[in-house]
Every structure is written in structure tokens, then in C-alpha cells.
Amino acid sequence: MRLESGLRGPRGSEKMSEKISHVKSFALRMNLIIAVLAIISLLTTIGTNYRAQALLAVIVAAIILTVIVTVIRVKGASDPLLCGKAIVQGTWFWTSFSLSYLIMTGSPYFGMPMINVAINFLIGIIIIILGIYTLLRTKKETGVMLSI
């Protein structure tokens, strides 16, 4: 694995733990951003009908739950591979859930005002872009494959 190569001996293990803490802080930062974006999307349902609120509540709950589980797994990871695995798997999940913003929110059934639909669509796009970035960077830094 990329991270392990050239990191042998006491200095190597020092470098490795520095690298792990760097990867961990990156993962925590990204997950925090995603949680904030999800909560913003939930706020857009204020004043809309219960169907839109239910949809957004389900999507946001799924994303927040994924973020919590990912953060717990990342914090508990003792080696770069486990850390990378937790980040990649969690990122896939919240990226996938965010596709729901693109597919569902514009549906007439939910009766969301166009401006709210547009905001949620934008949030979905941002989360997907952040997801791709997180996946590629984690792969580069930890060597964990994306199909882990």
C-alpha cells in the first residue's frame, strides 16, 4: 500500500501516525461539511407540506446517520487501511443518498416550491462533488481501493 511504503522504523512509524492523523482530520472535516449541508437542506422544508418534510427528513436522517457511523469508525481506526476503508465506505453511502436530492425533490408529488427544489438540487450536486473528491483523495493517501 502506498502509505506503508518507505515508512519503516521509528521515524517511519512517526510519519505514519502523522499521516493517519492527517487523513483522519480530513475525513472528519469532510463529514462535518456534509452534515451541515444536510441540515441546511432540511431547513428548506420549513413552510412546505408534510410530504416534502418527510422526504427531506428521511434523506437527511440517512446522511447524518452515515456521517456518525463513519466518524466513529474513522476515530477508532488504528491503521491507515482501516481508516481509509471507513472513509471510502461512508463516503459512498452519503454520496449515494445525496442522489435522492437530484431524483426526488423536483417531483410534483412533494409540492416543493421551485426555489427550494433548486437549493436542494444544488446541495445534492455539491455533496456529490465533495464525495468524488473525498474518495479520490482517500484513495491517493491511503491506497484503499474504491471498490473495497
Partner: protein
Amino acid sequence: MGEERKDKYGDYALLEIPEKERRSMLAMFIEWTSVVTCVAAIWGGGALGVSGDAVTVTIAVIIGSIILAILGGLIALIGGYTRMTTYGIMRYPFGRIGASILGLICSGIGGMLWFTMQTWLAGVLISSMLPGYWFTNIVVATVWSGILMMITSLYGIAAIIVLSYLLGPMFLLLTYFGAAAAFEAFGGIPVLLAYKPATPVSIGALITTVVGYYAIGMVIVSDISRYGRKPSDGGKAWAAHIMLFNTTLVLIGAFSIMLTGSENIALAMLKIGMGYSALAFLFLTQLDTNDNNLWVSSLAWVNAIGGRLTRRHWTAIMGAIGTIWAALVAYGFGPSMQVLFDFGGYLGRLIPQMGTIMIADFFIFRPYVLGLKDATKRYKFGPGSKYSIINVAGIISWIISSVLAFYAEALGVTPAVMGIVSGFILYLVIATICHKAGVKYEIGEWIERPTGF
């Protein structure tokens, strides 16, 4: 495992999975979840919905799923121990040529037929979703969606798992949400409990139907489970996806027909005004399921033919045949889709018993009759490994149980269940008697080449 060999055919179609290629239990779980989250599972549930009340159907689905989880879990465990594809494992209970022929019936042709049917369905869906454009014409849409569905399969298992990770969690979320919304709109639990089926059948018949729906998927479970880090990972992932999602998706189909009169949950979502969301959702579902159909087909062809054609070549060949066939059907020309449905029905009577014959051989015959207690040493693969050309006990058991499956309905039993039970018993009886009596049941000898062929 020994020294790693060159993977000539791609995706270790004929070789054991090396350590570096192994995947997490979650990857296998999400891959199977993406496969089961297809319209077919929900439609299958619809057929149950007209045959029983809500409580009876729920109990039947749970019991049927437990049976699927146990049988599929055992087959997955074989893949976990041997690290080989279903068709590689088949070399022992059916012989080398037997494995080639049965692998082609099971996945080589069966997988391609599923691919064809789902490609055609995607074309129908796109043309109804966006009518009036040249690229959404049913024939054109069928062709480009067929090509799209081939892409991940051409790249191989890594791309298939990536697509499953990307779409699988979203499917689950939206399936449950869409179902809850549709059920609420059509009256919810009170209407569900008051529902009386037009043609009620016994709970036993319902259970056997549940098992029959996913019996083919259950047989080829080793194609994925061999990637697990631990031998038992695949079995656990299989059982978990069956109990969590197969149960609920089949029930969604059943409840949908009880409440809305249609088993098609996407149609129910359309009826309540979810518009393009339902259709986009349905198309993505097809996309994610269909690459897997083509992938398993290519693995079976490599095992049967070998030579210069790799897994990618077979993916392209089977994908092209399936896409052209689907386009012809979409055009209203050539073999109708009914041919596919009929042929699919025949395959459903030929395939499930292959799985239980494998279980009988690996878990009972080899350890308790041949005395091979160590599960990792029951099957040996690698250059120079010797297989029989034909294992007569396996082939005869399969032929008799297939004949019984064709006549099962006349006896009031679902064909898949007849095949599963009779295949298991017949193999054990025939192989054990032959072994004890000193009758040679493994005929001929095939020595594995360095390529794994």
C-alpha cells in the same frame, strides 16, 4: 494459495482470488443488495399478493427468505473456502465438461437472457419517460441503454461494485420511501389487513414460491462470495441482504398489489404523482442490476470455452447479442419477448438443483463419505489439478431432478423447490452408493492448465 498466477482471462474467471483482490463484507452486501433491488423482486412479490392475505404472505416471505439465506449462505461458504467461481466449483460435483455445460445453462445463457430482458425494459421505460425525441425512440433507447449497461461489466468486478456503492444505498432509501408514500396514499394498514385474495393458496405454496424466485441467484452466489476476506464473509453478507432486503422488497410488491392493484411500485409511485422521479429511479435500478447479469455470463463462457477469448471479449459478445435481440424485440421484429419469458421459465426448472448438488458434495459427501474434513482442502485448484471429465453421480442427479422439476406443478410443488430437494437427496444417494460399491462414477481425466482452463 501459493504463488499468484497470471490472470489471463480477467476478474480471476478461472483462478482463485488472491489476497490483494479481496473485498469487505460490506462490498459484497451492497453488491447483492443492488442486484436484489430490481423490479423483478418487487414483481415477484406481486404474484404472492394475489395468493394470500397480508399476514400469511408476510410469514411465508420470512420463512422462504430464511431457507434462501441458509442455502445461499452454504453455497457462499464454498466460494469463500475455494476462492473459485461457481463454474470452477462445479468441476468437482459435475466433472470438467459437466461444469462447462451446466455453467453455460446457468449463467452463460441464463445471464444473457436476463440482460436482454432488462435492456428491453429499459428501452420501454425511457421511451415512455421522454417521448418525442429521436434518442428516446424505443429502439434507439434500447440500444444505448444496452451499451451503457455493458460498460461497467466490461471493466469488471471493481466497476460493478463501485456502481453498486453509488446507487445501492439510494435505491433502498427511495424504495422504502416510495412504497410508504404509495401505501399511505392507497389506504395503508387498515386496507392491507382487510384485503382478501381472489385465489388464496396454502402457506406452503407461498413459501416455495418465495424460494423459487431467487433460487438462480442463490446458485451463483460464489461468483461474488469468493472475494470475501474471510471464508464466511460472503455467507454472512448473503444472509443479511436476504433477511433485510429480499424480505422487504418482496413484501413491498405483495402489499402494492393488495393496495393499488398493481405490483409495479414505480407505477404506483407514478399514480400518486411522483412523475419522472419514479421513472428515473426505475431506470437506474435496471442499470445497476443488469451489469451483473452480463458479468456472470462472461465468467461461465470463459470456463466453458477458454482459448484466446477473455472475459471482456465474452462480455462484449454476449452484450452485443443481448442488445441486438432486445432492439429487435423493441422494433416488433424477430423473436418476441415471450420466447425469453418461456426460456427463462425452463431455466428456472434446470438451475436451482445445481446449487444443492454442490452443497451435498462439499458439505456432506466429501467430509463424511470421502473423509475430507478440512474444508480448505476438499477441492484443489491450480495447474496440474485433476478433475473428472464427467461426474456421473452429479449429472444423473441433475437430469432426474430437472425432469421432476418439470412435472412438479402437477404434484402441487413449485419446480424450484422440487429441484432443490430432489437434487440434494439424489446426489447423496447415487454418489454414496457408487462409492461404497466401488462403482466408478467419475469418468475421464482433465488436467488443469497454467491458465486455469
